[in-house]
């Protein structure tokens, strides 16, 4: 299969189950809401080393936020509900509570809950105030710029992590340009985040290592510098590979993001030397979600 001259390799991307929540961060203006969201979703590229994967989903206009202020929606993914709660409380406490003028609200509703204000309220040292508004409980925690308003809890849902596609290009510049085009298109979609820097990882990994203390190590099959000494999966003429990683609330969301991203990359990539697109997998042993590129793009 080819799109705009770019080969779509008959491969599949492998993803795994996660649990996720959405938070709405609002502030006096867009600047501060964005600062809090960026801070909160920092160092959240991979559950392996960061405890969670997080990113900014979208900006929200004031008329659509609970307190009529500019808002940012962030998605946080973790491997379990307890891990998710641990990360949410820690990150909101350190990055949103501390940020001037911010408030934080649940961004999804459901039965399974993740603590938020119910734990952060103790910062108020007894001066915190609870308010139930329209059936939702909020905590008002006194802080130096007034009050930090925080919803009692947020909901969590099952999610899909690790959706991906690999961009194979004649040059690093070409690979970067293709990924940038993909990201521009994918960032318009709801319910997904791309947790790595700029949405892209260059350090694709394989399971295991020659070193016993590591559970994952560099994916030598896609390292251009190792082509002569390893069983390389890079087509001839390819000198750079980058991986776009996608977490989504549903399998459908991830599939749509992959489709949109690949099409955008193929539209812009050829003039920069984009050669092929493939999917990253672990032989089907890692997760139950398999996104076959040919089926996805048919």
């Amino acid at each position: 299969m080819h799109i705009n001259g770019v080969e779509i390799i008959d491969a599949f991307a492998e993803a795994f189950p996660m649990t996720a929540t959405r938070l709405i961060i609002t502030a006096e203006d867009r600047f501060w809401a964005l600062r809090a969201a960026e801070s909160m979703t920092g160092f959240a590229t991979s559950v392996i080393g960061c405890g969670c994967e997080a990113g900014i989903e979208k900006e929200i206009e004031p008329e659509h936020t609970p307190d009529n202020r500019p808002g940012i929606a962030v998605l946080i993914f973790a491997v379990s509900g307890s891990q998710l709660e641990k990360q949410v409380v820690r990150r909101v406490g350190q990055c949103v509570l501390t940020c001037p003028s911010t408030s934080v609200f649940a961004g999804m509703q459901g039965e399974k809950r993740v603590a938020l204000g119910s734990k952060l309220r103790y910062f108020g040292d007894g001066f915190q105030i609870s308010k139930v508004i329209d059936g939702r409980r909020f905590w008002r925690v006194p802080v130096m710029d007034g009050e930090f308003v925080c919803e009692e809890s947020t909901a969590r849902s099952t999610a899909v992590g690790g959706g991906n596609f690999l961009v194979l290009s004649q040059s690093l510049t070409g690979a970067l340009k293709a990924c940038e085009s993909a990201m521009d298109a994918m960032q318009q979609l709801p319910n997904v985040i791309m947790p790595f820097p700029g949405g892209v990882a260059r350090s694709g990994s394989k399971v295991g290592s020659k070193y016993k203390m590591l559970t994952a190590s560099t994916n030598d099959a896609f390292c251009p510098t190792l082509r002569p000494v390893t069983k390389s999966l890079l087509p001839a003429g390819v000198s750079a590979a980058l991986e776009v990683v996608i977490d989504g609330l549903t399998e459908k969301d991830v599939a749509r993001a992959m489709r949109v991203g690949i099409q955008a990359a193929c539209e812009a990539g050829p003039r920069w030397g984009l050669k092929a697109i493939t999917g990253g997998n672990y032989g089907g042993k890692l997760g139950p979600f398999h996104f076959h590129l040919h089926e996805l793009l048919r």
Binding site: E63, I133, D134, F138, E147, V149
Partner: protein, 309 residues
């Protein structure tokens, strides 16, 4: 819809207890079964049919028609559905109510919503003493849900109130929020002193700050200061959704209020808020529902057209 109309040619009585006469318990009953339902009249068992004429059809709505000012515990134990009263009701409206909606096109007696746990009660007329307040001997009053009174409210509103939201559009008598434990009271008109004495927690919000007495007169409370409260637009939006007049989105950006904490005499941290009246005063008076009448339009299109007998 089930319509129960209070008969006029019945023996005189002092009180009629209507606890349990709610939409969910009447659903699916025939006219005869409805007439056989037990009620208490002057604390003695009686049949519903002895005092009420029954007209039933399949629906979730129950309408009570007549002068129910001697009927107590109307909507008692209600959990769901809609109960409309076309006329005034007596004491203890909504006692033990956990859900659903009650609309009274008239006045209500004492202790309205005192036993409310959930759901919403709307009263188009006036309310008697101890609305949302603890009954004598009880440690707490209203413990959830919402109460909206379009008219005036007598003394001791929200005394020992524990949880929930109360909105009163008209004037309020003295003793409001006395020993209040928590919850929110929103006032649209004048309020008599004393206000908030012994208040522990909770919020009293004056919508029209310009129209009430200067907060400096509030005994036991801190000197009022201007604060910016970011939760306020959310509260104002909910309050506005409970009122009849159409919402003006510009009202929901207001965060600056005069705020006073008390009652410090008992170490209380309750808050009295005075909203700058300008934005709420801009609401045309003729859009407000009449305080003392019982017209159906006060409750919009869903109101029944049945006239009191």
């Amino acid at each position: 819809m089930i319509v129960l109309t209070l008969k006029t040619d019945v023996p005189d009585y002092n009180t009629m207890n209507l606890s349990g006469i709610v939409p969910s318990s009447l659903r699916g009953l025939s006219d005869d079964q409805l007439r056989e339902l037990a009620i208490l009249v002057d604390e003695r068992p009686a049949s519903l049919g002895d005092y009420w004429s029954v007209q039933a059809s399949d629906a979730e709505r129950l309408t009570l028609v007549g002068d129910l000012s001697r009927c107590v515990q109307v909507a008692g134990g209600m959990t769901a559905g809609l109960l409309m009263v076309q006329g005034s009701v007596g004491d203890d409206l909504g006692n033990g109510m956990h859900g659903g909606e009650v609309r009274v096109l008239g006045d209500c007696g004492r202790f309205v919503a005192s036993g409310l746990r959930g759901g919403i009660i709307r009263v188009s007329g006036n309310a008697g003493e101890f609305a949302a307040a603890a009954r004598p001997g009880a440690s707490r009053g209203m413990n959830g849900g919402r109460l909206v009174i379009d008219g005036q409210c007598d003394r001791w509103l929200a005394a020992r109130m524990r949880r929930g939201l109360v909105v009163v559009r008209g004037t309020v008598g003295g003793g409001c929020a006395a020993r209040m434990i928590a919850g929110t009271v929103v006032l649209g008109g004048q309020v008599e002193q004393p206000l908030g004495f012994g208040m522990k927690r909770g919020t009293v919000l004056h919508l029209n700050g310009n129209a009430v007495d200067l907060p400096a007169t509030l005994c036991g409370f801190t000197k009022p200061e201007y604060n910016e409260l970011s939760f306020l637009p959310m509260l104002l939006r909910e309050v506005d959704s409970l009122l009849v007049a159409p919402a003006d989105p510009s009202r929901f950006v207001q965060r600056r209020v005069l705020r006073s904490l008390g009652d410090r005499a008992v170490g209380g941290m309750g808050e009295c808020l005075w909203l700058d009246g300008k934005s709420w005063d801009s609401q045309p008076q003729d859009e407000m529902p009449p305080n003392h009448t019982c017209d159906n339009e006060s409750f919009g299109d869903e109101a029944d057209s049945i006239s009191p007998s």
